[in-house]
Amino acid sequence: MSGSVQETVARAQGALGRRLPAILLGLVVVAIFATVQAGRDPWHTLFVDPLINFLVLFNNVLLGQFGLAIILFTVFMRLLTLPLTVRQFQSTKAMSAIQPKVQEIQKKYKDPKRRQEELMKLYREAGVNPLGCLMPMLIQFPVWIALYRALIVLVGGVPEAVVDLSQHLYPWPYLYSAIPLEQHFLWLNLGRPDTTFVLPILVGVTTYLQQKVSTTSSVATSPEQQQMNQTLNLMMPLMFTWFTLAVPSGLGLYWLVSNIISVGISYFVYGRRGIDWRRVLLPFPEPATTARGAGKPTSAKRGEHERRRRGKR
């Protein structure tokens, strides 16, 4: 009896989990509609302004330490979007698990229509939605963009930014009396780029780790995808290092903390064995086969072996 109740609860939880992104998306659409009807700018009213005020609130709670407020706020936001992030990672993981079969189908069926049918059949049987990793990501995009906008308004530091900020604060004395915010944290001036290069390098390294963890934990379907992963692994850290050199350090601090949390979530989702740390720490992938090491297992093969071993267990 209790077993059936547990099953029912588990089924209900599963159904809710599956529908969570759609429910959230629906709520957001309704809220946007209501805001537009009220004659207000939905982007700022629903996304940017609440984030700005939350950040100022955290700043006050942490006794005016705005650097700590950014760290705490980043952790808070990542926790808030954790179910979506975990779902995204799990979908990616599930897609990776069936990649050998996907490749098999792609090789076997030359007719695109038939190939598509077989692929859909495989996805159905495996209980995987190929768009499953996209939906949570799409929902998080507005949050990320709003967060960037909020941080830029808050840590801009320049008087023009403070004039803009005044238009986003809620009419609570606890919030608006805290302005201007303390811009110094550790060696950083949060309103200015870090000229010591320490923060940009840290952001670059953590972006690299985050990229490598997420790409080595999935199996690339084709050489093109492998090359694309390689390009991403190099481009993203360089890009974010460069950004951090140009933007206020407060934004760099957000990226740093966010990257560290992402690596942590990857570790949590994929597990210690799911992440091939040798591949993570190597800047370039080892060649698939070499003259000497032809018999040695490649990383992809090792991953497959690991999956089979775990499947048996």
Binding site: V158, S166, W242
Partner: protein
């Protein structure tokens, strides 16, 4: 037998994709970096100064230009810092420059006070403070002292001749200072973000007295009839009785946003614009609100009385002419400036000079509200 490798179409296709991907990332990174950098870079809102038929204006961020009046037009004199000088980077000017017979003094957002030769535009001296200078400078012609308040929380008194720090200075407050030091005789009043109004001995830099207001003081203070009026971060407008050394109004008027603009006091009325877009006319003796006028956008610039017309400029560049007695709108210039306007309007003969954030310079007829763009010769 050696074979000649043929180009692998798959590999070249992949390489092509990589290149496109790299280009897309590069474009995205450029766009994001530009957006972020633009959001964080100071522009400044120093109003222009007209002295002896010469115009000193900062229409580009961190640059000050001088022009001489010639008939109906202007002739370019100099620009500071000159083109190609990378050692001097003021970043932006937020306060109007102090113009004397021989020199121009300006505080840069880079935290430096610059003294520039009035005739040549060359650097005479510079003095570095510990933080950005947002507050306009104050000048005492009698003692030849330039007073600079910095975001490092200190007030510096500098010898106008050589830029050396006067003995006994700087004076340190508990927070940054964004408001102009106010000189009255031998007393220098300093409104600090630490929530106190300080009265200092202008010569020795010693504290005479101070008043705890409670919230960070953000606007330039103004002195009228023994009362200092100043806006604070708690969205209230405060009056300090100098003789009593205490707050004057029992219930300081409170708005929906900060009083950042310097209030204008005419007779017994204080005209105080607010970032909530409202202009408040307040009685100087008791702080009661006589009338309000609601502009379309926030107002950061100080209003200006031209005849009977109170000229108000809002952040989006809409200029309003108000009846100073009633607050009724006489005219508006919509949509004249088509740019952000944060700098104070200044009188220019019987007209008004206005500047905008993207380097526009305008002449306003306060009688009709007609606005005319001034085109200055390029350096």
């Amino acid at each position: 037998m050696a074979t000649i490798p043929f180009p692998d179409t798959k590999v070249s296709r992949a390489w092509s994709r990589r290149r496109w991907l790299a280009l897309a990332f590069l474009a995205a990174s450029l766009a994001l970096a530009a957006a972020c950098a633009a959001a964080a870079s100071p522009r400044g809102w120093a109003p222009p100064v007209v002295s002896q038929d010469q115009l000193f204006v900062s229409l580009e961020a961190g640059r000050l230009s001088a022009y001489a009046r010639e008939g109906d037009g202007w002739r370019f004199l100099w620009r500071f810092p000159p083109q190609g000088n990378n050692n001097v980077r003021p970043q932006a000017f937020y306060g109007a420059p102090i113009v004397t017979d021989n020199a121009i003094y300006a505080g840069g957002y880079d935290g430096t006070v610059y003294a520039v030769d009035r005739a040549q535009g060359t650097l005479l001296w510079r003095f570095d403070t510990g933080g950005p200078i947002i507050a306009p400078l104050a000048f005492d012609p009698a003692s030849g002292t330039v007073y600079a308040a910095s975001d490092d929380g200190r007030v510096y008194a500098l010898d106008a001749g050589n830029g050396s720090l006067r003995p006994g200075w700087p004076f340190r407050t508990g927070e940054g200072i964004w408001a102009r030091p106010l000189l009255d005789g031998h007393t220098l009043y300093v409104a600090s973000l630490d929530g106190r109004l300080y009265a200092l001995d202008a010569t020795s830099g010693s504290r005479l007295w101070d008043v705890e207001v409670g919230a960070g003081l953000i606007s330039d203070p103004v002195l009228a009839g023994g009362t200092i009026v100043v806006g604070a971060a708690d969205r209230r407008l405060y009056a300090v009785d100098v003789a009593q050394r205490a707050l004057k109004w029992p219930a300081p008027p409170r708005a929906e946003n900060w009083f950042w603009a310097e209030p204008l006091v005419v007779g017994d009325t204080v005209y105080a614009p607010n970032l909530d877009g409202t202009v408040y006319a307040v009685a100087l003796n008791d702080g009661s609100v006589r009338w309000t006028f609601v502009a379309e956008n926030p107002v950061r610039a100080r209003p200006l009385l031209a005849g009977d017309v109170l000229v108000v400029v809002d952040r989006e560049g809409v200029v309003y002419g108000l009846d100073a007695a009633t607050g009724n709108e006489v005219w508006d210039s919509r949509p004249a400036l088509l740019d952000r306007a944060l700098a104070d309007p200044i009188p220019f003969g019987d007209r008004v000079l206005l500047t905008t954030q993207n380097g526009g310079l305008f002449l306003l007829d306060p009688g009709s509200g007609q606005v005319q763009r001034i085109t200055l010769p390029r350096p």
